[in-house]
Symmetry: C2
Subunit: 104 residues, 2 copies
């Protein structure tokens, strides 16, 4: 377990895919932003604006970045980066807890 | 939308019912605590330690507090309190976003 201190949290959840993916936004003193979320099993494609670091805290999924042909297994404790202005698809196999950092 | 400022957030989600209910813990400067969570459709019973104020931010559910015989419809924008050392059951009809405050 780890904590983020002296942050601002948005009360309302960000709801994607009818709630199968839901997150809460955390804003840091330096203006940087992370989202803390949970994904139900399913397949989800997300587009990026800024580059993202996705840390999977628990769960299991298969990952495909834009332009890749294969799938990469990702489990709790692993992370991956997604370039800016790109996309990625996750086949979430078990409920997955994540921390997404938006990179400057 | 509203925000909580100068708070501490626990990075890892609280996972209940296999992830169908998941929340993040927010701790305030005075030591008080809230959880921000999302519930998938389903029926869930929770026990309370401290009394709780449940604010339903969006979604629809039916509520039954311990000792009640009927069900009360609760929708986004409504809230309810649960006594300490009690329990409550929610039949969640649509994905529901909530803010739970633990009362001293």
């Amino acid at each position: 377990m780890s904590e983020f201190t002296n942050v601002t949290v948005v009360r309302e959840a960000n709801i994607y895919f009818g709630g199968a993916v839901a997150s809460h936004t955390v804003v840091f003193a330096d203006g940087s932003k992370k989202t803390l979320g949970v994904m139900q099993p399913g397949e989800y494609t997300f587009n990026t604006g800024a580059a993202e670091l996705m840390e999977i805290l628990s769960g299991e999924l298969d990952l495909q970045l834009a332009g890749e042909t294969g799938w990469r297994p990702i489990a709790g404790g692993q992370s991956f980066e997604v370039p800016a202005n790109s996309s990625f698809t996750m086949k979430v196999k078990t409920v997955s807890d994540y921390c997404c950092s938006f990179l400057a």
